[in-house]
Amino acid sequence: MDNDTLLVEQLKNKKTQEQAFRRLMSLYKERLYWHIRKIVFSHEDADDVLQNTFIKVFKNIHTFKEESKLYSWMYRIATNEAITFINKKAAKQQVDLSELQLKTVQNLNNDIHFTGDEIQLLLQKAIITLPHKQQLVFNMKYFDEMKYKDMSEILDTSVGALKASYFHAVKKIEEFLKHIKP
Protein backbone atom coordinates (compact mmCIF):
# COMPACT_ATOMS: atom_id res chain seq x y z
CA MET A 1 0.00 0.00 0.00
CA ASP A 2 1.53 3.32 -1.04
CA ASN A 3 1.67 6.40 1.16
CA ASP A 4 -1.25 8.07 -0.55
CA THR A 5 -3.56 5.06 -0.09
CA LEU A 6 -2.59 4.69 3.55
CA LEU A 7 -3.12 8.37 4.21
CA VAL A 8 -6.50 8.32 2.53
CA GLU A 9 -7.50 5.30 4.61
CA GLN A 10 -6.50 7.08 7.79
CA LEU A 11 -8.33 10.22 6.68
CA LYS A 12 -11.53 8.26 6.15
CA ASN A 13 -11.28 6.58 9.56
CA LYS A 14 -12.78 8.80 12.27
CA LYS A 15 -10.37 7.47 14.88
CA THR A 16 -7.28 8.46 12.94
CA GLN A 17 -8.79 11.32 10.96
CA GLU A 18 -7.44 14.27 12.89
CA GLN A 19 -3.92 13.04 13.04
CA ALA A 20 -3.94 12.07 9.36
CA PHE A 21 -5.35 15.43 8.43
CA ARG A 22 -2.61 17.25 10.28
CA ARG A 23 -0.10 15.22 8.38
CA LEU A 24 -1.86 16.01 5.10
CA MET A 25 -1.71 19.71 5.85
CA SER A 26 1.93 19.68 6.78
CA LEU A 27 2.73 17.87 3.52
CA TYR A 28 0.83 20.13 1.15
CA LYS A 29 0.10 23.47 2.78
CA GLU A 30 2.96 25.43 1.24
CA ARG A 31 2.55 24.10 -2.28
CA LEU A 32 -1.16 24.75 -2.23
CA TYR A 33 -0.68 28.16 -0.66
CA TRP A 34 1.70 29.40 -3.36
CA HIS A 35 -0.48 28.04 -6.12
CA ILE A 36 -3.43 29.93 -4.65
CA ARG A 37 -1.40 33.04 -3.97
CA LYS A 38 -0.37 33.41 -7.60
CA ILE A 39 -4.03 33.44 -8.56
CA VAL A 40 -5.38 35.80 -5.89
CA PHE A 41 -2.21 37.92 -5.29
CA SER A 42 -3.09 39.03 -1.74
CA HIS A 43 -1.82 37.06 1.30
CA GLU A 44 -5.10 37.56 3.23
CA ASP A 45 -7.13 36.26 0.30
CA ALA A 46 -4.74 33.34 -0.17
CA ASP A 47 -5.08 32.48 3.52
CA ASP A 48 -8.90 32.45 3.23
CA VAL A 49 -8.85 30.31 0.11
CA LEU A 50 -6.32 27.88 1.58
CA GLN A 51 -8.47 27.35 4.66
CA ASN A 52 -11.55 26.87 2.50
CA THR A 53 -9.63 24.33 0.44
CA PHE A 54 -8.56 22.25 3.41
CA ILE A 55 -12.02 22.38 4.95
CA LYS A 56 -13.46 21.14 1.68
CA VAL A 57 -10.88 18.36 1.54
CA PHE A 58 -11.71 17.37 5.12
CA LYS A 59 -15.46 17.31 4.52
CA ASN A 60 -15.28 15.51 1.20
CA ILE A 61 -12.48 13.01 1.79
CA HIS A 62 -15.07 10.20 1.85
CA THR A 63 -15.94 11.06 -1.78
CA PHE A 64 -12.34 10.79 -2.98
CA LYS A 65 -12.31 7.72 -5.20
CA GLU A 66 -8.53 7.43 -5.65
CA GLU A 67 -8.85 7.54 -9.43
CA SER A 68 -6.26 10.33 -9.38
CA LYS A 69 -3.48 11.23 -6.98
CA LEU A 70 -4.51 12.77 -3.69
CA TYR A 71 -2.35 15.81 -4.41
CA SER A 72 -3.96 16.34 -7.86
CA TRP A 73 -7.39 16.16 -6.27
CA MET A 74 -6.46 18.72 -3.63
CA TYR A 75 -4.76 20.96 -6.20
CA ARG A 76 -7.92 20.91 -8.31
CA ILE A 77 -10.03 21.92 -5.30
CA ALA A 78 -7.59 24.73 -4.52
CA THR A 79 -7.68 25.99 -8.15
CA ASN A 80 -11.48 26.01 -8.22
CA GLU A 81 -11.71 27.72 -4.83
CA ALA A 82 -9.25 30.43 -5.90
CA ILE A 83 -11.03 31.08 -9.22
CA THR A 84 -14.41 31.21 -7.48
CA PHE A 85 -12.99 33.61 -4.93
CA ILE A 86 -11.62 36.13 -7.42
CA ASN A 87 -14.74 35.94 -9.58
CA LYS A 88 -16.87 36.75 -6.53
CA LYS A 89 -14.53 39.57 -5.60
CA ALA A 90 -14.78 41.03 -9.11
CA ALA A 91 -18.57 40.72 -9.05
CA LYS A 92 -18.70 42.48 -5.67
CA GLN A 93 -16.67 45.36 -7.04
CA GLN A 94 -18.78 45.30 -10.21
CA VAL A 95 -15.80 44.91 -12.49
CA ASP A 96 -14.69 42.11 -14.77
CA LEU A 97 -11.89 39.79 -13.73
CA SER A 98 -9.24 41.36 -15.99
CA GLU A 99 -9.94 44.79 -14.54
CA LEU A 100 -9.69 43.44 -10.99
CA GLN A 101 -6.37 41.77 -11.73
CA LEU A 102 -5.02 44.97 -13.31
CA LYS A 103 -6.01 47.03 -10.27
CA THR A 104 -4.44 44.48 -7.93
CA VAL A 105 -1.16 44.21 -9.79
CA GLN A 106 -0.88 48.00 -10.11
CA ASN A 107 -1.12 48.17 -6.30
CA LEU A 108 1.38 45.40 -5.67
CA ASN A 109 4.07 47.92 -4.80
CA ASN A 110 1.93 48.98 -1.85
CA ASP A 111 1.45 45.42 -0.68
CA ILE A 112 3.72 44.64 2.30
CA HIS A 113 3.74 41.02 1.30
CA PHE A 114 5.22 41.72 -2.12
CA THR A 115 8.95 42.25 -2.07
CA GLY A 116 9.75 41.55 -5.69
CA ASP A 117 11.96 43.83 -7.74
CA GLU A 118 11.01 45.79 -10.82
CA ILE A 119 11.36 42.89 -13.22
CA GLN A 120 9.30 40.61 -10.98
CA LEU A 121 6.58 43.21 -10.81
CA LEU A 122 6.75 43.54 -14.57
CA LEU A 123 6.43 39.79 -14.89
CA GLN A 124 3.22 39.85 -12.83
CA LYS A 125 1.88 42.59 -15.09
CA ALA A 126 2.79 40.46 -18.11
CA ILE A 127 1.08 37.38 -16.71
CA ILE A 128 -2.27 39.11 -16.24
CA THR A 129 -2.32 40.01 -19.94
CA LEU A 130 -2.67 36.29 -20.73
CA PRO A 131 -6.05 34.55 -20.98
CA HIS A 132 -7.09 33.26 -17.55
CA LYS A 133 -6.46 29.56 -18.16
CA GLN A 134 -3.14 30.33 -19.80
CA GLN A 135 -2.15 32.25 -16.67
CA LEU A 136 -2.72 29.05 -14.66
CA VAL A 137 -0.70 26.97 -17.08
CA PHE A 138 2.17 29.45 -17.04
CA ASN A 139 2.28 29.75 -13.24
CA MET A 140 2.12 25.98 -12.71
CA LYS A 141 4.82 25.25 -15.26
CA TYR A 142 7.17 28.22 -14.89
CA PHE A 143 7.09 28.76 -11.12
CA ASP A 144 6.00 25.34 -9.75
CA GLU A 145 7.76 23.29 -12.46
CA MET A 146 4.86 20.86 -12.44
CA LYS A 147 4.83 17.90 -14.85
CA TYR A 148 2.44 18.16 -17.76
CA LYS A 149 0.87 14.86 -16.73
CA ASP A 150 -0.01 16.24 -13.28
CA MET A 151 -1.21 19.52 -14.78
CA SER A 152 -3.42 17.54 -17.15
CA GLU A 153 -5.10 15.82 -14.16
CA ILE A 154 -5.61 19.08 -12.29
CA LEU A 155 -6.81 21.23 -15.18
CA ASP A 156 -8.59 18.42 -17.02
CA THR A 157 -6.78 19.35 -20.25
CA SER A 158 -4.70 17.16 -22.54
CA VAL A 159 -0.92 17.25 -22.29
CA GLY A 160 -0.63 18.46 -25.90
CA ALA A 161 -2.97 21.38 -25.29
CA LEU A 162 -1.07 22.31 -22.15
CA LYS A 163 2.24 22.28 -23.98
CA ALA A 164 0.86 24.49 -26.71
CA SER A 165 -0.68 26.83 -24.18
CA TYR A 166 2.59 27.17 -22.27
CA PHE A 167 4.55 27.83 -25.48
CA HIS A 168 2.22 30.68 -26.46
CA ALA A 169 2.26 32.07 -22.90
CA VAL A 170 6.04 32.21 -22.85
CA LYS A 171 6.16 33.99 -26.20
CA LYS A 172 3.60 36.60 -25.19
CA ILE A 173 5.35 37.33 -21.91
CA GLU A 174 8.70 37.66 -23.65
CA GLU A 175 7.16 40.18 -26.06
CA PHE A 176 5.66 42.14 -23.17
CA LEU A 177 8.91 42.21 -21.23
CA LYS A 178 10.92 43.27 -24.28
CA HIS A 179 8.43 45.97 -25.12
CA ILE A 180 8.12 47.43 -21.62
CA LYS A 181 11.59 46.83 -20.18
CA PRO A 182 13.71 49.88 -20.45
Binding site: E18, R22, M25, S26, K29, E30, Y33, W34, R37, K38, F41, H43, D47, L50, Q51, F54, I55, F58, L108, H113, F114, T115, G116, D117, I119, Q120, L121, L123, Q124, K141, Y142, F143, K163, Y166, F167, V170, K171, I173, E174, L177, K178, K181
Partner: protein
Protein backbone atom coordinates in the same frame (compact mmCIF):
# COMPACT_ATOMS: atom_id res chain seq x y z
CA UNK B 1 9.44 23.03 -23.11
CA UNK B 2 12.62 22.71 -21.08
CA UNK B 3 14.99 25.36 -19.84
CA UNK B 4 17.09 25.33 -23.01
CA UNK B 5 14.03 25.91 -25.12
CA UNK B 6 12.92 28.82 -22.94
CA UNK B 7 16.39 30.30 -23.19
CA UNK B 8 16.08 30.25 -26.96
CA UNK B 9 12.60 31.73 -27.36
CA UNK B 10 12.45 33.89 -24.20
CA UNK B 11 15.87 34.97 -23.00
CA UNK B 12 14.49 37.85 -20.93
CA UNK B 13 12.14 35.55 -19.12
CA UNK B 14 14.91 33.06 -18.67
CA UNK B 15 17.06 35.65 -16.94
CA UNK B 16 14.59 36.37 -14.15
CA UNK B 17 16.48 35.29 -11.04
CA UNK B 18 15.45 32.03 -9.41
CA UNK B 19 12.07 32.25 -11.05
CA UNK B 20 10.97 34.29 -8.10
CA UNK B 21 7.49 35.67 -8.25
CA UNK B 22 8.19 38.30 -5.55
CA UNK B 23 5.44 37.29 -3.12
CA UNK B 24 6.15 36.52 0.58
CA UNK B 25 4.28 35.55 3.76
CA UNK B 26 4.14 36.79 7.37
CA UNK B 27 6.64 35.23 9.76
CA UNK B 28 5.76 31.76 11.04
CA UNK B 29 2.63 31.72 8.94
CA UNK B 30 3.08 28.12 7.87
CA UNK B 31 3.77 27.01 11.45
CA UNK B 32 0.42 28.12 12.75
CA UNK B 33 -1.77 27.24 9.85
CA UNK B 34 -2.89 23.80 11.12
CA UNK B 35 -4.22 25.11 14.44
CA UNK B 36 -6.12 27.86 12.72
CA UNK B 37 -7.58 25.38 10.28
CA UNK B 38 -8.75 22.94 12.96
CA UNK B 39 -10.37 25.78 14.86
CA UNK B 40 -12.19 26.65 11.66
CA UNK B 41 -13.21 23.02 11.04
CA UNK B 42 -14.52 22.60 14.60
CA UNK B 43 -16.45 25.83 14.31
CA UNK B 44 -17.96 24.70 11.02
CA UNK B 45 -18.89 21.34 12.65
CA UNK B 46 -20.90 23.23 15.28
CA UNK B 47 -22.63 25.16 12.53
CA UNK B 48 -23.44 21.86 10.83
CA UNK B 49 -25.20 20.68 14.03
CA UNK B 50 -27.26 23.86 14.06
CA UNK B 51 -28.30 23.28 10.51
CA UNK B 52 -29.57 19.81 11.46
CA UNK B 53 -32.89 21.55 11.97
CA UNK B 54 -35.12 21.39 8.93
CA UNK B 55 -37.83 23.60 7.64
CA UNK B 56 -40.95 22.65 5.74
CA UNK B 57 -40.70 22.57 1.97
CA UNK B 58 -40.61 25.95 0.30
CA UNK B 59 -40.73 27.62 3.72
CA UNK B 60 -38.37 30.42 2.83
CA UNK B 61 -40.31 31.10 -0.35
CA UNK B 62 -43.59 31.56 1.50
CA UNK B 63 -42.52 33.08 4.79
CA UNK B 64 -42.44 36.62 3.41
CA UNK B 65 -46.05 36.41 2.22
CA UNK B 66 -47.14 34.97 5.58
CA UNK B 67 -45.45 37.75 7.51
CA UNK B 68 -46.92 40.46 5.29
CA UNK B 69 -50.41 38.96 5.60
CA UNK B 70 -50.12 38.82 9.38
CA UNK B 71 -48.87 42.37 9.55
CA UNK B 72 -51.74 43.55 7.37
CA UNK B 73 -54.22 41.68 9.57
CA UNK B 74 -52.77 43.26 12.70
CA UNK B 75 -52.88 46.72 11.13
CA UNK B 76 -56.50 46.19 10.09
CA UNK B 77 -57.40 45.01 13.59
CA UNK B 78 -55.81 48.12 15.06
CA UNK B 79 -57.70 50.35 12.66
CA UNK B 80 -60.96 48.65 13.51
CA UNK B 81 -60.49 48.71 17.25
CA UNK B 82 -59.26 52.27 17.62
CA UNK B 83 -62.44 53.97 16.34
CA UNK B 84 -65.73 53.72 18.32
CA UNK B 85 -69.10 55.44 17.74
CA UNK B 86 -70.01 58.56 19.69
CA UNK B 87 -71.75 57.92 23.02
CA UNK B 88 -70.93 54.27 22.79
CA UNK B 89 -70.18 53.74 26.44
CA UNK B 90 -73.24 55.70 27.56
CA UNK B 91 -75.64 53.49 25.70
CA UNK B 92 -73.76 50.30 26.22
CA UNK B 93 -75.68 49.16 29.28
CA UNK B 94 -79.09 49.61 27.67
CA UNK B 95 -77.97 47.80 24.58
CA UNK B 96 -76.67 44.90 26.57
CA UNK B 97 -79.82 44.61 28.69
CA UNK B 98 -81.99 44.73 25.59
CA UNK B 99 -79.99 41.98 24.05
CA UNK B 100 -80.23 39.92 27.22
CA UNK B 101 -84.02 40.19 27.20
CA UNK B 102 -84.26 39.33 23.58
CA UNK B 103 -82.01 36.47 24.21
CA UNK B 104 -84.21 35.14 27.00
CA UNK B 105 -87.36 35.37 24.74
CA UNK B 106 -85.54 33.64 22.08
CA UNK B 107 -84.44 31.14 24.63
CA UNK B 108 -88.07 30.56 25.77
CA UNK B 109 -89.22 30.22 22.25
CA UNK B 110 -86.39 27.92 21.65
CA UNK B 111 -87.42 25.87 24.68
CA UNK B 112 -90.99 25.72 23.50
CA UNK B 113 -90.06 24.87 20.00
CA UNK B 114 -87.63 22.40 21.38
CA UNK B 115 -90.49 20.34 22.79
CA UNK B 116 -93.42 21.29 20.55
CA UNK B 117 -91.92 20.22 17.35
CA UNK B 118 -91.18 16.65 18.34
CA UNK B 119 -94.63 16.32 19.87
CA UNK B 120 -96.26 17.64 16.73
CA UNK B 121 -94.34 15.27 14.60
CA UNK B 122 -95.27 12.36 16.81
CA UNK B 123 -98.94 13.35 16.71
CA UNK B 124 -98.85 13.59 12.94
CA UNK B 125 -97.45 10.13 12.68
CA UNK B 126 -100.12 8.87 15.05
CA UNK B 127 -102.91 10.43 13.01
CA UNK B 128 -101.51 9.06 9.79
CA UNK B 129 -101.26 5.65 11.40
CA UNK B 130 -104.83 5.77 12.62
CA UNK B 131 -106.15 6.98 9.30
CA UNK B 132 -104.43 4.19 7.54
CA UNK B 133 -105.97 1.71 9.89
CA UNK B 134 -109.47 3.12 9.43
CA UNK B 135 -109.28 3.58 5.72
CA UNK B 136 -110.86 0.21 5.12
CA UNK B 137 -113.79 0.69 2.78
CA UNK B 138 -117.20 0.06 4.31
CA UNK B 139 -119.76 -1.89 2.29
CA UNK B 140 -123.40 -2.67 2.86
CA UNK B 141 -122.34 -6.15 3.91
CA UNK B 142 -120.63 -4.51 6.91
CA UNK B 143 -123.90 -2.85 7.95
CA UNK B 144 -126.55 -4.73 9.88
CA UNK B 145 -130.11 -4.71 8.39
CA UNK B 146 -131.49 -3.21 11.53
CA UNK B 147 -129.13 -0.29 11.14
CA UNK B 148 -130.31 0.33 7.60
CA UNK B 149 -134.01 0.17 8.58
CA UNK B 150 -133.39 2.54 11.42
CA UNK B 151 -131.62 4.89 9.03
CA UNK B 152 -134.59 4.93 6.65
CA UNK B 153 -137.25 5.28 9.40
CA UNK B 154 -135.39 8.21 10.85
CA UNK B 155 -135.84 9.91 7.49
CA UNK B 156 -132.13 10.20 7.02
CA UNK B 157 -132.50 9.06 3.48
CA UNK B 158 -133.93 11.30 0.80
CA UNK B 159 -135.34 9.71 -2.29
CA UNK B 160 -137.92 10.29 -4.93
CA UNK B 161 -140.18 7.68 -6.58
CA UNK B 162 -138.73 8.26 -10.05
CA UNK B 163 -135.22 7.34 -8.82
CA UNK B 164 -136.67 4.29 -7.14
CA UNK B 165 -138.37 3.28 -10.38
CA UNK B 166 -135.10 3.56 -12.25
CA UNK B 167 -133.20 1.54 -9.63
CA UNK B 168 -135.96 -1.13 -9.22
CA UNK B 169 -137.71 -1.37 -12.61
CA UNK B 170 -139.15 -4.80 -11.88
CA UNK B 171 -140.83 -3.70 -8.68
CA UNK B 172 -144.44 -2.67 -8.84
CA UNK B 173 -145.01 0.22 -6.55
CA UNK B 174 -148.07 0.10 -4.42
CA UNK B 175 -150.52 2.91 -5.26
CA UNK B 176 -150.93 3.71 -1.64
CA UNK B 177 -147.33 4.66 -1.46
CA UNK B 178 -147.40 6.51 -4.70
CA UNK B 179 -148.97 9.89 -4.56
CA UNK B 180 -149.11 12.01 -7.57
CA UNK B 181 -148.31 15.61 -7.20
CA UNK B 182 -149.39 16.49 -10.73
CA UNK B 183 -152.71 18.21 -11.45
CA UNK B 184 -154.97 17.34 -14.40
CA UNK B 185 -154.23 20.60 -16.13
CA UNK B 186 -150.48 19.94 -15.86
CA UNK B 187 -151.03 16.59 -17.55
CA UNK B 188 -153.12 18.02 -20.38
CA UNK B 189 -150.63 20.78 -21.02
CA UNK B 190 -147.84 18.27 -21.15
CA UNK B 191 -149.72 16.11 -23.65
CA UNK B 192 -150.47 19.06 -25.86
CA UNK B 193 -146.84 20.18 -25.93
CA UNK B 194 -145.37 16.78 -26.73
CA UNK B 195 -145.99 14.44 -29.60
CA UNK B 196 -147.90 11.41 -28.38
CA UNK B 197 -146.48 9.06 -30.91
CA UNK B 198 -142.94 10.01 -29.90
CA UNK B 199 -143.74 9.48 -26.27
CA UNK B 200 -145.25 6.07 -27.02
CA UNK B 201 -142.24 5.05 -29.11
CA UNK B 202 -139.78 6.17 -26.45
CA UNK B 203 -141.52 4.27 -23.76
Amino acid sequence: MNKKEIHKIAPTLNNIAHKNHGFNVPNAYFNTIEDGLFAEINASKLNCDKTAYKTPNAYFKTVEDLVVTKLKAQTLKKEVTTAIPDGYFETLEDQVLTKINDTSKIRNLKIISKYVVPITIAASFLIIFLLNNTSKSITFEDLATSEIEEFIENGDINYDVESLALIFPEVTLDDTYYTSTLSDSDVLNYLNENDLETLILEN
